[in-house]
Amino acid sequence: MTSELERAARDVRSAVAIVAASGRPVIGIVGRDVPAVLVAASGAHPYRIAPGDELTDEADAVMGRAVDRAASRVLAAVMAGSLDFLRGILVSRDCEASVRLFYTLQELHRRGAIAPPVHLVDQVHQNRESTLQYNVAQLATMWEMVEAWASGGISTRSIEAARNELADVRGELERRRSWRRSGRLSGTAALHGYRVAAALPPTDAARLLRDAGSEADDAGFPVFLTGSAPLGDEVYRAIEGAGARVVGEDHDWGDPILTDRLPARIARDRDSLLRELATARLAGAPAAASSTMAARAKATREAIAASGARALLSVVRPHDEAPAWDWRHQREQADVAAAMVRGEAADDLEQVVAVVETLRAAS
């Protein structure tokens, strides 16, 4: 039986379009590095865009074919006009595909070929004071851009209100993560929860998450998923359909969302506040495309321990380069059975399932 949460997760876009039709400005976000709290504080609704179902032929012709499909699918949605309800799109530089998507969208907008304006939130990722200062300056520019798009001012008080609403959603997500780790929630359901939380207005998302409840105990074979961030829920369904459970993951549509802390207290001066926001992301779980192999291997090892996984599975789509580099050290340090499905094979769910079977046999 399809739950309300699952139905909502499958079609967040229509729900968000209704929000926009009601007159509330909606701002699109691509990637995990754009702080949604700043957007919400402007009065606009921050909507994190997931890859759509539109055909990518036209997008491929413009952006090139050798780019992670997650980005082509977002471009295809914009080019099809499906996201015309957005006041603007904030793109993060979380990976090369996003940067490429940004350049393409910016140029298409300049040429009048697409409706929404775009802005790059250029957050970089080393643990250095100079990096932090650059990121703060970028967030200050984003602040002004968002105010202009939303036609609303951001104030200490509006940030505080936005933070509190988002914190409610976080609370629900954290509860679900603990259920998941104790075997009472599938990875697929967890993924749906994250997707809804990143896309819908916080009050709607919190209600859906609250109502969803836990699931029956399941003794499925616990697997930790690394590699590419999934386009939809197909990979999760395939793995869990084969009797395994995805008990944790390190892509940016899953558990790592919870490692980017919301600001604890809202500083009065803008600079300190932006510093806190920028630091929160830099201190969050490392992402494949923007971290060292060493940091990734350590994080994978810790996340496997925290989630109780007994195997490590990496599913890497074509043109997603970083995870294949991380793999050597991840596998060496994981301390559980490990396997990678890469390239075209990663698109073939039967092959993914076959690898899950070999992992089960090996562990």
Binding site: A61, V62, M63, G64, R65, A66, V67, R93, C95, E96, V99, R100, F102, Y103, T104, Q106, E107, R110, L120, D122, V124, H125, Q126, R128, E129, S130, T131, Q133, Y134, A137, Q138, A288, A289, S290, T292, M293, A294, D320, E321, A322, A324, W325, D326, W327, R328
Partner: protein
């Protein structure tokens, strides 16, 4: 038509330089491997010898040792189908002494790169699997839209091309690199030496600029692109040395002499062409055939043109000027709107009739370059190549498409 003397001299110098580098390293000198898009000037100023990663990759490729180097990468547990060119040096460590080109690349003590793409940082981090090798990374920031033609602004008003924030970040990283190098090598950085390096480079690139302008204005075209490429690139790897500056001046003089003498690659020049994207210059016979059959000559190379327009930076603060040189160097070649506008300007100043655009599928913004050229009324032939697998490019298909394109231009 003989080879340019400047080209032969550059290639000879390169061999001698590499032999002396190997000797110095054998004597205990510390040396660095640097990716081409990261600043090398600080190393030059501190007297730390370095090899540019892409130059070494070109040597490995030319000596047919690329496949074996990639196998070595795979054997060490890393992908052999990602960043293939960037990773050749890493893999070439596994070549046996006889198979290694030029006696082999000595083990670097330091590696330096910019975090471009998702994996370049990891390619360089992989060197540190040997814990005696130190690694320094520069952030890669994204291009902004400049408030005017970048090729006019970049020399003096670089902050209007790249933005003060990007430059401030890279300048801070330059200072961190200096600390890192002082710690690692025991050498001391002196600002006056960097200032001298920056002066020499501006002189070198001004000569390249004169050479580019000479070739742009000459009818018929006096030199082959396959000749100017080594005559420009080898001195580029030695940027900041007197040899590099003098080599660029010699090239300028040689080209000026040819123009004055009315020299021509092809006496019957009828069609002027521009090649955009990764070149296929090793197959010189193909180009000769176009000359002979159609009087069609390629008159432009991005290596000379980017040296002419992309590198010169004047300013009082050498650390900042250096940051302004590197912070967006690849944007100038690929990112819209900077790159498309520049190719149009170069196509116009060189009076080309058509452009052959090799579109590697991993290059961002390629479609906008074609579009901008076509909108400027310049015919474009796009050739699609997979960067992951260059073997998919069939040279006879390419030649066929180019013949048809050139024949079409003539009518």
């Amino acid at each position: 038509m003989t080879r340019l003397e400047s080209a032969s001299a550059a290639l000879t110098h390169q061999r001698e330089w590499f032999a002396s580098l190997r000797a110095a390293v054998a004597d205990g000198e510390r040396f660095a491997l640097v990716n081409a898009d990261a600043p090398q000037e600080i190393l030059r100023a501190m007297g730390i010898p370095y090899v540019v990663n892409q130059w070494w990759a070109s040597i490995v490729t030319a000596k047919q040792a690329a496949a074996e180097s990639l196998e070595q990468v795979a054997r060490s547990g890393y992908p052999d189908d990602s960043r293939q060119y960037d990773v050749l040096a890493l893999g070439s460590r596994g070549l046996d002494a006889e198979g290694a080109p030029w006696g082999g690349l000595p083990k670097p003590d330091l590696v330096i790169a910019e975090l471009s793409g998702d994996a370049t940082g990891k390619v360089f981090e992989a060197w540190t699997d040997d814990p005696s090798i130190g690694y320094f990374a520069y952030e890669r920031t994204a291009a902004i839209t400049p408030d005017g033609p970048w090729w006019e602004l970049a020399r003096w008003h670089w902050d209007r091309v790249f933005g003060p924030e990007r430059i401030a970040l890279m300048a801070a990283e330059n200072r961190l690199l200096i600390e890192f190098l002082e710690e690692r090598t025991g050498r001391t950085f002196e600002l006056s030496r960097l200032e001298r390096v920056m002066r020499l480079i501006n002189e070198q690139e001004e000569y390249n600029r004169e050479t580019r302008d000479l070739i742009a204005a000459a009818r018929p075209t006096p030199v082959r692109v396959s000749d100017t490429i080594p005559a420009v690139m080898v001195p580029q790897w030695h940027r900041g040395s007197e040899w590099g500056r003098d080599a660029a001046r010699a090239l300028r003089d040689e080209v000026a002499g040819m123009v004055a003498a009315g020299g021509a690659v092809c006496e019957g020049e009828r069609t002027r062409l521009m090649w955009v994207g990764r070149g296929l210059w090793s197959d010189t016979s193909m180009y000769r055939r176009f000359e002979e059959e159609y009087g069609a000559v390629f008159v432009w190379s991005m290596y000379l043109a980017i040296a002419a327009d992309g590198y010169i930076r004047y300013g009082d603060d050498a650390i900042q000027a250096l940051a302004a040189r590197f912070v967006g160097i690849t944007d100038l070649l690929y990112a819209p709107p900077l790159a498309p506008e520049w190719y149009v300007k170069e196509a116009r100043t060189h009076g080309v009739d058509g452009v052959v655009h090799l579109v590697a599928d991993d290059v961002p913004g390629a479609s906008f370059i074609t579009l901008a050229l076509e909108e400027a009324g310049i015919a474009v032939l796009e050739i699609r190549a997979s960067n992951a697998d260059p073997r998919t490019l069939d040279l006879s298909d390419v030649e066929h498409a180019m013949s048809a394109f050139i024949a079409g231009l003539a009518t």
